[in-house]
């Protein structure tokens, strides 16, 4: 076996190769940032890491070769991160419930749906980020203006999925439930709602992601707390390393949320056939 055959990318060493790509990019970035001009605009991976350290850990580091100024162990990001996550969860919850209710209502009331149709299309087509100033005006600079912005993002994703989900309930399943004696409320509870929930779950990854985006963008446009606020502050002082550190933290937490959603989805949607799943007898 030659050397190449052993390290060739394959299913076995995929993780190593993925890690390798990251290391190469970081190394190239670090090397490029030895030029002061590039370091000013692009930041330095080591400094970014130092910033993340001082955000999360309470222990400092004395000045050394890598960090001539040392690192302060501030552990001061938790308040900001907590605010951003709180906004995300509130927006996700409110947006999902509103989307679910409106989707169910309009899908089951064809007349209302026909009347509102053009307005829903218009509201969905509108670039909703521009609503941020209006929400800031209405709800102030606290968390609620951010929640409102993120709700507008989440709402339409959930709404359209629920609408679709109710519309696509199999007519046979519906007729069967009616023949078994379901009244309108029972139909809603046992047929329409579960079907709509399945569609909501299929959009959950998107809507959690958008709730996060809405919260951060809202903070970035005007706030006194939150990770978006930290990024805004750093940008104001041309502290590009902190901006990148903020991006790294946001990305990590977006991935974390996505993983969480995946777990919840697998638990609640076990009735759905997954591709390639064999029958477990």
């Amino acid at each position: 076996m030659t050397m190449w055959q052993r390290i060739k990318p394959g299913t076995g060493n995929l993780r190593l190769w993925q890690l390798g790509v990251l290391l190469v990019v970081l190394a190239a970035w670090q090397f490029a940032s030895r030029d002061a001009q590039i370091a000013f605009f692009m930041g330095e991976p080591v400094q970014v890491a130092g910033r993340v350290w001082s955000w999360f850990l309470p222990w400092g580091m004395a000045p050394n070769a890598l960090f001539p100024d040392g690192i302060a162990g501030n552990a001061d990001i938790y308040l900001h991160l907590g605010i951003t996550l709180l906004e995300t969860f509130l927006a996700f919850g409110i947006g999902t419930v509103l989307g679910l209710l409106c989707g169910l209502w309009l899908a089951l009331a064809p007349l209302a749906s026909a009347i509102f149709d053009p307005y829903i299309k218009a509201a969905n087509a509108m670039p909703r980020v521009i609503l941020a100033p209006i929400f800031a005006l209405w709800f102030g600079l606290g968390i609620w203006s951010k929640v409102a912005l993120a709700v507008t993002l989440v709402f339409f994703i959930v709404f359209f999925n629920v609408y679709q989900g109710v519309r696509e309930v199999s007519p046979v399943v519906l007729a069967n439930a009616r023949m078994l004696g379901a009244n309108r409320r029972q139909l809603l509870r046992t047929v329409y709602l579960p079907s709509a929930t399945a569609w909501v779950f299929s959009s959950l990854h998107t809507s959690v992601g958008l709730a996060f985006v809405g919260a951060v963008v809202g903070e970035y446009l005007g706030s006194a707390r939150g990770v978006g606020y930290l990024i805004l502050q750093a940008e104001g002082t041309f502290d590009v390393n902190t901006v990148f550190a903020g991006i790294v933290v946001l990305t990590a937490f977006a991935l974390l949320l996505d993983g969480l959603v995946g777990r919840v989805e697998r638990r609640l949607m076990k009735w759905q056939p997954r591709q390639g799943e064999t029958e477990k007898l």
């Binding site: 046979v172 399943v173 007729a175 069967n176 023949m179 046992t190 009735w271 759905q272 056939p273």
Partner: protein, 272 residues
């Protein structure tokens, strides 16, 4: 008729569907009268696309006829037929409920307490041979098992009239014969009125007291009616080789063949 009184009467039923594009309307069923006695097993056979399912939907109250009347145990039918259970041709189980929860569904709709409904559903699952499969979701069951679950779901409500729309047409022949025997056994125990739609002549003769032959569509109507005097209990596989079965089959086929050919010609004409 074996039992006194009629469980289900379709009297002078005509079903005309308006076409979506404003074109000519389509009459699926024309002036059809069909009676099912209490405790009687009646099959309806006819060429594909002749409006058999339309007729069944009318009997279930899912579809209002353009003309004619439906009577259930002598009473005119308004709205859904509450005394009927309907077993559909297509998949009708709720995919998000396990087999047991699906069988419980009708009982829950009726307000039976959960514990009691669960016990009854367990019992029915066992009767259709699915004891121990109650926690499976429909996608984890084979086609035959799903049909058994649907059968248990329909029968758990103990309906006086059972409507079946080609329930076994998607099954392989062995599974199918097993299920036919099981249905006959369950039917013999309770003696409910059954209206059974099929395109399979063998199945119709092997199971029924009476077979009604429908003409090819459009404007389908009954063109023949045959009393099946084969002794019961029957085994659907064995009964097929008896001389009387062969004779009945020939008589029925003589009537049906022309309609099947007519049906094919029409479908080919439509495609052209």
């Amino acid at each position: 008729m074996p039992a006194p009184g009629c469980a289900l009467e379709l009297l002078g039923i005509t079903c005309t569907f308006a076409s979506a594009g404003g074109g000519p309307s389509y009459t699926a069923v024309a002036d059809t009268t069909l009676r099912v006695g209490a405790g009687e097993f009646v099959s309806v056979v006819g060429p594909t696309g002749c409006g058999k399912s339309t007729l069944l939907n009318v009997g279930a109250g899912l579809l209002a006829p353009s003309r004619g009347e439906v009577r259930v145990f002598g009473e005119p039918l308004r709205g859904l037929n509450r005394r009927a259970g309907y077993m559909f041709q297509a998949e009708a189980l709720l995919p998000w409920r396990s087999a047991l929860d699906n069988v419980m569904l009708g009982l829950q709709y009726r307000g039976v307490p959960d514990a009691q409904a669960r016990a009854q559903a367990q019992d029915w699952l066992a009767r259709v041979g699915l004891a121990g499969f109650g926690d499976r979701y429909p996608h984890q069951l084979s086609g035959g098992m799903r049909k058994r679950t649907a059968l248990a779901q329909t029968l758990a409500l103990d309906p006086d009239i059972i409507l079946m729309d080609e329930p076994f047409s998607a099954l392989d022949i062995q599974t199918r014969q097993l299920m036919e025997d099981e249905v006959l056994e369950l039917w013999a125990a309770k003696r409910k009125a059954v209206l059974f739609i099929t395109h399979d002549l063998d199945e119709a003769i092997a199971m029924s007291d009476r077979v009604v032959v429908l003409s090819a569509g459009p404007a389908t109507r009954p063109i023949g009616e045959f009393a099946i005097d084969l002794p019961r209990p029957r085994n659907v596989a064995d009964v097929r080789s008896t001389p009387r079965f062969v004779e009945l089959h020939r008589q029925l086929w003589d009537v049906l063949r022309e309609e099947v050919l007519k049906g094919y010609r029409q479908q080919l004409g439509k495609a052209a």
